[in-house]
Symmetry: C2
Subunit: 217 residues, 2 copies
DNA sequence: CGAAGTCAAGAGCAGTGCTCTTGTTTTGTT
DNA sequence: AACAAAACAAGAGCACTGCTCTTGACTTCG
């Protein structure tokens, strides 16, 4: 037996079809949003019966959860990369990079942003399984907050963040959460149309807001 | 003719039924959220045919818009009252009052909050008609920002705020919008479950965040 | 080879927003 | 008072949704 993982033809087909379903669902999510995402439309897109999809995802909610985990992961990578590209000691620069990366992503993918950080999807309660992936993003922020307390090199990887979060001083935690909320609020105001007739140059406005929210100052 | 407004029996019945529809819709909105609000359920609640509802509201979206306007109005009153109860020169106190009133309302009516300030309802684009009512709330903030620029008594009523907003200095406008976004972000983080395992005493936490967001400092 | 497990498809249920038609009632005008 | 016009409630129906159950075909494994 050469294959350490004895994948039968059926198992291979299953993995591919599962991926195809997710891919089609992602397309729908990006185009029409999570609420309009339809299992039947996914089935139509893939040329299969709607009932067949339920063999791969037990419910629409499970499919949404899968997307949620994937998106949190990708966004986490993105934000992490933006943070890692900065000089570690330049806390303000790292904050700007984090905020700018998040907003750029949100503007490019508004439905995905609304899915992750907007009001919960109708009838869909994010299960426990989504908390860990979401921490992937906030972990970068926690890293920043940790350096706020004790500047200097850390060897911690992502997995440690959740534990290290307990070591945060109240002051640093407050700064981080306030800045985080301000960031999401600013993006939401823009994307959800609450700045219409109030702001013209959104890029310039956001840059100013971002600096005012800087948790390191 | 004693009646300055010659309301026919039919017109009276129409007004009452319209109000009953709105009341039933508000109940549904509060309990299950805007996305789950169903015209048929409203009709069932009132013991009428679903098709009859469409004689009073041409579409579900129009019904939602009506609710939006009503809610913006009520919230505007609430925030306005909170602001008016403060010493006009105590800008920080007014900011605290505004933020506390908004959060208290949001916590008590999370679905309504998500409807007004969360991600837009699926397939529902807030029409122009909702911009003016929403300004009812932000007007209080603008009033605060105006006093930030030039402390002293103003005789302006609500209607002036939109015009006066143009007189705001860039600095004051930036402070106001940043604080406003931070406020909504903080409430959204709490209500949408993004602070799970991060905050225990939400009241105390919010008070700290509110002070950090203070646009007058 | 045969039993067990997996799969796709179809039909069907209950729900949705919305439209159209039918028949009734109220209104405003001869 | 009689009549036309408008407003109304109700029902049937369309297209859509998530989801279930059954049926029949296929793959995998003992």
């Amino acid at each position: 037996m050469p294959t350490s993982a004895p994948l039968t033809a059926r198992a291979v087909a299953r993995r591919e079809l599962t991926a195809a379903i997710v891919a089609s669902a992602r397309r729908q999510l990006a185009e029409i949003g999570p609420a309009q995402l339809s299992v039947r439309a996914v089935a139509r897109d893939l040329g299969m019966a709607s009932s067949a999809v339920y063999r791969y995802f037990p419910s629409r909610d499970e499919l949404l959860t899968e997307l949620l985990v994937i998106l949190y992961g990708e966004l986490g990578d993105l934000v992490d990369a933006a943070d890692a590209a900065c000089e570690p000691t330049d806390l303000t620069g790292r904050w700007r990079a984090l905020g700018s990366a998040l907003r750029a992503w949100a503007v490019a993918a508004p439905h995905e942003y609304a899915f992750l950080y907007g009001s919960p999807v109708p009838g869909y309660a994010a299960p426990e399984a989504t908390i860990t992936p979401s921490a992937r993003v906030t972990g970068v922020l926690i890293g920043l907050a940790l350096d706020l307390d004790a500047p200097g090199p850390r060897t911690s990887t992502f997995d440690d963040f959740r534990a290290l979060a307990g070591d945060l001083s109240d002051e640093a935690a407050l700064r981080a959460i306030t800045a985080w909320g301000g960031l999401l609020g600013a993006i939401s105001l823009e994307l959800f149309g609450h700045l219409t007739n109030a702001v013209t140059d959104y890029d310039a406005h956001f840059a100013l807001v971002l600096d005012r929210l800087d948790p390191t100052s």
